[in-house]
């Protein structure tokens, strides 16, 4: 190994487009966070729906939930992103005008929804069957039983795995480099090539991923404390 010297001033260099690498990196961080937040919203909505379907008494609904989960869980994320990017717009022509940012949000959101569906299902099934029967017995409809009895408990129980899923989503946004979304990993690859200061650039990018994931972790811990059920193990 040759003699290595740090050169952090690389971040103040001009990229050739009238901005510094630092600015570019910050905007890339913004893209990473935007993709992550929007995908998480898609994943939570779709994943909860599919997870709930898998616990209903209706066989067809259970099947839909199961097929959804297996389909999105058994294809690599990168391949799913390519499917959204190349295949879906040529099948549904109306989607052709969508920017690739939106396609990546759906790709990552649906991919993660399969994992969230699995956790929602497990959360609901971890509740005693009696809770469901009690809800139905006092005259609530099935929908009301879910809304007022099952889901409020199930979602509190699965906050820890949902937290790690939210952290995973931040890490998984990195795969969006493959369709040229200007997020952190894309920045890292391009800036490394242009400046040849890969170590400094990768260190900064890795640091930003750390900070983002840690922030999600703290935020989730805060939510968990706020909504904890008194009297359960783990509650103070």
């Amino acid at each position: 190994m040759g003699k290595f010297t740090w050169d952090w001033q690389v971040f103040l260099q001009d990229t050739g487009g009238g901005e510094t690498y630092l600015r570019w990196m910050m905007s890339a961080w913004g893209w990473t966070i935007s993709v992550a937040v929007l995908s998480l919203i898609v994943a939570l909505l779709v994943g909860s729906l599919m997870g709930i379907l898998r616990t209903t008494p209706s066989k067809p609904l259970v099947l839909i939930g199961n097929v959804w989960t297996e389909l999105f869980r058994n294809i690599p994320l990168l391949v799913q992103i390519f499917l959204w990017y190349h295949v879906i717009p040529s099948i549904f022509l109306s989607l052709r005008s969508l920017p690739s940012f939106v396609l990546v949000v759906f790709a990552l959101g649906f991919f993660t929804s399969a994992r969230i569906a699995e956790q929602v299902r497990a959360g609901i099934q971890s509740l005693a069957q009696g809770q469901r029967y009690a809800g139905l017995a006092i005259g609530l409809t099935l929908v009301q039983t879910y809304r007022y009895v099952l889901l409020p408990m199930a979602f509190r129980i699965i906050i820890p795995p949902l937290t790690s899923e939210a952290m995973n989503i931040i890490k998984n946004t990195s795969v969006a480099f493959a369709v040229s979304i200007a997020e952190l990993t894309m920045f890292a690859m391009q800036a490394q090539e242009e400046t040849s200061r890969g170590i400094e650039i990768y260190l900064a990018v890795t640091g930003l991923y750390f900070v983002s994931a840690f922030a999600v972790n703290r935020l989730a811990a805060l939510i968990e404390r706020r909504v904890q059920v008194p009297g359960l193990l783990g509650a103070k």
Partner: protein, 223 residues
Amino acid sequence: MNLNLDFSFLSWGLIQSFIVKGLIFSVELTIIAMLGGIALGTVIALMRLSGKPALALPAAAYVNVLRSIPLVMVILWFFLVIPLLLGQPLGAETSAIITFTVFEAAYYSEIMRAGIQSVSKGQVAAGYAMGMTYAQCMKLIVLPQAFRNMLPVLLTQTIILFQDTSLVYAIGAYDLLKGFEVAGKNFNRPVETYLAAAIVYFVICFSLSMAVRRLQKKIAIIR
């Protein structure tokens, strides 16, 4: 809806010369990273559970750092740093094998740690009472049971590993996905190319996860 699929360009010759080559590398990468990752992961798990801070702290740092970085970044890091350390360039494939072994070890070690902790304390105490050393206890009593208990989880992680091998795209290594891309390139049929790739990945991963589920039931009965 506008669906005019034509898979006819994917001839057997094309599959043989481009796709099989990629599949072989993906499988090879998965198997090497699984075996190496489980071996290294077990050592790291034992270090973490050793109760000696000099061993436990570096092991914990190893696991926590690697688990907080996106795999794509780890792949890029290794591809950049290993040649600097070696002083000579390294092929994307070799770099991928080293990266995945090191990276997966962090995940396998967490599984092994849970497996080791699932073995009851009385078993280790019984081992000591019979005059076994720590190493003998681990090798003859704890680890065989930990492996057995964790086998389904280890295999599930391996399926995830197989899916993740597609990320070597970032450094241009020739894997299954790349095989499809190369095969489809001259025909300008991205829709069929990526659909076919998705189907192949799905069939492999889905059948493996079915097999793991069956294994899980079998093991559960024997215990």
